[in-house]
Symmetry: none
Subunit: 222 residues, 4 copies
DNA sequence: GATGAATGAGTCTTCATTCAT
DNA sequence: TATGAATGAAGACTCATTCAT
């Protein structure tokens, strides 16, 4: 028998597996996604393993085949469902021919696109705020993996602009963090609004954000 | 000493109330504060009424003399411990002689001061993000009472600047929200960092924020 | 000061007492009555002392001035609110000139009247059935005080009839109990029917009961 | 022995179900019976779910696998443990050759037998009297299902007697109810007497009851 | 006497986790 | 592997009882 039993783990599903084995190989992902959705709806403590199971189409016991306990399940949800906003290496190279203004615009567009389209990124922020105190490693891990790269990349764009003589840095520190802030505000707005009707209209909001950044960093023309 | 029979407990007794009555008058506040601290540490669901009671120096039953149930207790914590950042009517009048630049600076200083000194304001944000979905009214109420006035006031400062010819508004909308964003970012940072060692140094951060605002709204000198 | 303080107990209120003292002298009765009503509505276990107090127009603590605890209160309700159906000594003497048929009729009329008018008698039956197992003395005491005299009196009427040659006793035993049974049935009916619309019409019911008795005990005319 | 793997517990395992499935199939009945006994001993409010569980040989949690809550458990006890006294259709047919006198006797014998042997029937009466006010549907449902058929059947016996010229109906209404009353009295007696020593001796009691009925309905011979 | 704030034992109910099948 | 019956620790909430005022 080829490639069937005991073929599990964080596996990229290959074409060898039969449908049952395929199913099995996907289980962890399915459970993670189901858990994510339940955690989003009710928060960590109020989420019941049984509901996660039901949503994943399995039963309670099965959860425990793949995850030690509820705590580990939660940590894995946060740790494994996050997606980096950028493929760090590619972004700058891929767009090196662009002007710095365009890079800023592209950065913002990509950031808002990611936040808006992908519920994981913003909801995991909710998890960290809500339950981070109970999972201390999670917060710093997540910051290092997802936030810091973002700030670094924005910094590099700014520095590129400085080198090219179109931007100027006028402050001691925290510039990237401050200039990106409106995106966080938008994310929080999304987390807080039950119906999205009250949210700012995104294109306008991005425009204003972009203008703010440009007016802030643009080098005063001599 | 007048009218202080049998004063006992850690309470300073005043002349109007017997110790019993006094305690009763203070209990709700004491319980709210204790509840606040527990909710901060563990989140709504994971907080046990008994722990709130212990922290308030009473027993389970006493909580229920003052609050219908855990849910109401939570709502009251959010609803009654919030303090507005500004006394809206006074701020502008009191400082009408100031320049608009100074007003912006004063606004930011006050805002950060409030956020930093007063744990209620930022922690209640945590509650809203963590459990707002279970308490829908809470979110909108809180927004109307505390956030909207802030945005409005900042708007008025900007408009004053425009009238006086020192500021210019260059964007369609959401300007105040975007310009204030860094303060929210700082609040979230505080919520996420277990030890405050990793936080940005506040004076520098405020400076950068202030500079960002000024560069953004300053009217291009002719 | 005349006849005021400490004048309480199961006292027949005399004219000496001032209004406050009067109040006090009546308290136990008022509490008993309030307790009775609450016990009727909710049953022993589900009745809360505080509700009894509220209904009696006093506060929790006051109940404990007059009754040791909830159990004693309940026992006193059952023990002190029952009223005998007949003044045993008077009934037969007062009506000695009546025919035996008339006595039977009078007996039944009085019995149903009592049961119908006075909620105590039938509701205490409910207490005994519901909670008698927890208060063993109560049941036998009540039986001896209220049921046995009833049976005895009916027996005496029957025997009078036999002596006068109009009734005949045709059975070994339990005759009175069996002949009175329909009254108990009616009482139970009242206890069970939420709205009294479904109850038998009382005059007709009594007639039928009376006829049953007469046909049963009437001596076969020679 | 066939198909009885790992049989354990006090249960006789049959061949169709595994021990696990079997237990599950039997659990509800076992719990109902245990609950019945506890409710009988203490009454609805004073009965603790944990005691029911212990008596059923399971733990608290298990109760909630089969019943929503205590209230539903109680309703099911009342609703599912009652047994009709007669198989309505069969009784009259099966005994059509009997004389009406014999039918009456048979009716009474069956009724008392049922009441005496089967604790459910009389104890459920206790539940209805004690807690019926909190479960209004229960009372009327029970009356329709168990009491009304009884009265109807007795009516039919009487009418048969009338048709055959041996009985006469001499009253406007409620005759069956009144003639059956002594059985209710006996049931109440059983509910009230802690030890059954004080109860009437059943055979004599039934005799007297029977005589009462016969003297009441027998047609005066011409 | 009367009050009612405070207590804390007691009870229902939930749910993470285990384990026999 | 997968199931889901069973467990029992834990937590919200109630209420008889006490006692300082």
């Amino acid at each position: 028998m080829v490639g069937t039993k005991h073929a599990r783990g964080p596996v990229v599903v290959d074409n060898e597996l039969g449908p049952r084995a395929l199913r099995k190989a996907q289980r962890p992902q399915e459970i993670l996604q189901a858990a994510f959705e339940e955690f989003v709806e009710r928060g960590y403590t109020a989420t019941r393993i049984e509901d996660v199971a039901a949503r994943a189409g399995v039963t309670k016991g099965t959860i425990y085949l793949y995850f030690q306990n509820k705590e580990e399940l939660f940590q894995d949800v946060v740790g494994k469902l996050s997606q980096p906003v950028f493929d760090e290496n590619q972004f700058l190279e891929q767009h090196q021919h662009r002007s710095c203004n365009e890079l800023v615009r592209l950065f913002l567009d990509t950031l808002y696109e990611h936040m808006t389209v992908n519920p994981h990124s913003r909801e995991i922020l909710r998890f960290l705020i809500a339950d981070g105190r109970s999972f201390p490693t999670l917060v710093s891990t997540h910051f290092d993996q997802f936030v810091k790269p973002l700030l670094t990349m924005f910094d590099r764009i700014l520095q590129k602009g400085v080198r090219e003589g179109v931007f100027e840095i006028w402050a001691e520190d925290h510039i990237s963090q401050i200039l990106i802030s409106p995106a966080l505000t938008y994310a929080i707005d999304m987390l807080l609004s039950a119906d999205n009707t009250k949210l700012p209209e995104l294109p306008i909001y991005i425009n204003t954000h972009y203008e703010m950044v440009m007016r802030t960093v643009r080098k005063a023309s001599v």
